[in-house]
């Protein structure tokens, strides 16, 4: 069946260097460099090495931004991540203090996070009428509440067996923390999956027109469940590295993360790639 009027439709994309350079992501890279230069200019204390010392904490938090970008692209949100981090950190510390091998601790942290994410996902996919904001607000209170119960009246727990955590908080050459490399690996995976796979394309389809995506055969609810669960797993990973940095957990662990979810990523909804991936690029 050929075109009846012989009309042809162009199908080769225009490539423009200017367009690539002027995109939002490049702007952020420029901004990042600018802030660094500016910081160094006004204060001699602002040194790359200082930034590096403080880095593990921020890098750990960036694990959350990766799946959060997926959620935002889909037009969803997870307010409970901070609480999930708190709960997995708490449980991980408790388990660690019983003296089990470190690998068990790692799996516990990831499992707790995954379970939290899975719960969000199940509620949201079984009761599709509910807005994610409200459900995750509710689960946030619950997760943090459970952490509070676990921590007891003291409200905090300190690590007694720090070997494992010390191992993962090490630095290559005494400068670049391991967490950086782990993060880069994950950032690459998340970026590639979002930009280059059918799964990533489906994220955008769901975010732009959920109905049309569903009618076109995109398994919307399955994908939502997957992303919420991965969100939880990454929160568990974040908890692990945060604990390695803080040597313990308390009721406020992950508290500021409640809403800190990559301000930049949100604006990107439905357009191109998530923003956050450019932030770990400084070195």
């Amino acid at each position: 069946m050929a075109g009846k009027s012989g009309r042809t439709i162009a199908h080769v994309p225009e490539k423009s260097v200017k367009k690539t350079l002027l995109c939002w992501e490049s702007m952020l890279v420029v901004l990042f460099i600018f802030i660094n230069i500016f910081g160094q200019g006004i204060s001699p204390n602002y040194q790359a090495s200082n930034v590096l010392r403080e880095m593990p904490r921020y890098l750990a938090e960036m694990f959350l931004m990766l799946p959060m970008a997926y959620l935002l692209v889909m037009g969803e949100i997870d307010i409970s991540v901070g609480a999930t981090v708190c709960l997995s950190a708490t449980v991980a510390c408790m388990v660690c203090n019983t003296g089990v091998p470190f690998i068990v601790v790692v799996f516990t942290a990831l499992a707790v996070g995954t379970a939290c994410g899975l719960l969000n996902g199940i509620i949201l996919t079984k009761f599709t009428e509910l807005p994610p904001m409200i459900v995750t607000l509710g689960t946030q209170i619950v997760f943090r509440g459970i952490a509070e119960i676990t921590l007891g009246s003291g409200g905090s727990v300190s690590l007694q067996h720090t070997e494992g955590f010390r191992a993962i908080s090490g630095r290559v050459g005494g400068l670049v923390p391991y967490v950086f490399f782990v993060l880069v690996i994950f950032a690459v995976i998340f970026t590639v999956v979002l930009a280059k796979t059918t799964f990533g394309r489906s994220m955008y389809a769901i975010g732009t027109n959920r109905q049309a995506a569903y009618y076109s055969g995109v398994p919307v609810q399955k994908y939502r469940l997957i992303v919420y669960t991965v969100m939880g797993t990454m929160a568990g990973l974040c908890a692990l590295f945060l604990t390695a940095y803080l040597y313990g957990a308390n009721t406020t662990t992950g508290k500021p993360l409640v809403i800190k979810k990559g301000v930049f990523t949100a604006e990107e909804k439905g357009s191109r790639r998530p923003m956050s991936f450019h932030e770990p690029l400084p070195l």
């Binding site: 009309r7 042809t8 199908h11 732009t208 027109n209 049309a212 995506a213 009618y215 995109v218 439905g270």
Partner: protein
Amino acid sequence: MSEYILELKGITKIFPGVKALNNVSFQLKKGEVHALMGENGAGKSTFIKVITGVHKAEEGEMFLNGEKVDFKGPKDAQAAGIAAVYQHPTSYPDLSVAENIFMGHEIKKNGIMQWKQMNEEADKLLAQLDADFKSTAEMGTLSVAQQQMVEIAKALSTNARIIILDEPTAALTNNESEKLYRIVDKLREEEVSIIFISHRFEDMYRLATRVTVFRDSQYIGTYDVDGITNADLIKAMVGREIKDLFPKPEVQIGAELLKIEGLSRTGFYKDVTFSVHAGEIVGLTGLVGAGRTEVVESVCGITRANAGKVLLEGKEIHVKKPADAMNLGIILLPEDRQRTGLILSWGLGRNVTLPTMGKYARMGFTDDKKEREVSKDLLESVDTKAVTIFDPASSLSGGNQQKVVVAKALGQKMKVVIMDEPTKGVDVGAKAEIYQIMGDLAKQGYGIILISSEMPEILGMSDRVVVMCNGKVTGELKRGEATQEKILELAMEKSKREEEGR
């Protein structure tokens, strides 16, 4: 006093980059029903918006009762007695009918809303229109036809002397349209002047005395309805002759593809049975709300049926979601292109490959180059009027959007294609092209279910007509024996019987 209640001269409206209206003129007599026709994108809607003050024309003059007027906004037009009922009811679904009617000109005393008075007034207006609902009903719970009635009541509540109806019958079934016709007749008796836009010739013949045709943003002419033939009118609208509106090919009908057996879903349809053969076009018709769309939605896994079987090539299938249906070779092209058919902000290419992207991908990784080639071929095969495959779907006219929706189904080997109202809101030229594609698909051995409320389309294209009424199949007619009367009778059978029984 001039002969015309409304006269527009030399109207030109320019949007960035395009002339939406080019030196257009128009005259409306008092108490006249005047049809405004033309293909989609001919400038009718823009013209209406100029009259109602939503857009301001760059050039040209407008006279109301012989006096020159200059509207600064919709409020001015409203004050001058011009009201418009737009294509998609612009109502507030969460508010009551009375609130909808009086939105913008509420009855107030010292800044306090007088609900009682407004409800009474609204009920009076609704009674005038023979409405079967109350002023306190929630707008969102009403049918499209009822919502339209509210919009007309709203126009009347402003004491409008000129009422503009923009495609009022597009979403209505035949007997709902009939009701609308009666309302228009009533308004005409009250000396209200009416402009209406429609793609349906029945509307024009039934109501209008004169018809004005626009084409490509230009005024083509005004004709007396009695003095113009269908063919001439189409020629005026399209600019060329369309020889055969329904190019139904002769196809050897093959084996049975899809069989629906006793399918039921509580509250929507009951005990539905019919089948589709290879190369056959089955017209599924009935009034809107008869359960046609609901049946095919269950077949395609969008909703679940409670009872009954669906068989594909003799084997029972269990479809849980649209993806399952597509894997089996059944695809639904939904009625609402904007909401469920397309992702409007996406390029055409991506839209076309959305259902099949897994096929071109390797281990989940997309192959952009191949996808571009495939989508180019598919879009060309349905003759889409587009420049590149990167054009956003929103930039196309309704007819071309529908072609893109069809192209989505062609990316993989399908067995059954279900088209839900494929020509709704599509202009004559594009309609013929869509029928052409439909015929071609049948020739290739696809089984096609065509859901439509438009009688000529059903009669013109189907090999077999299945009529539904109130959730049940009330009859099946072969191509030779189907007539408009027979279909209507079947479509309304139940409700008639009910009335007699009471």
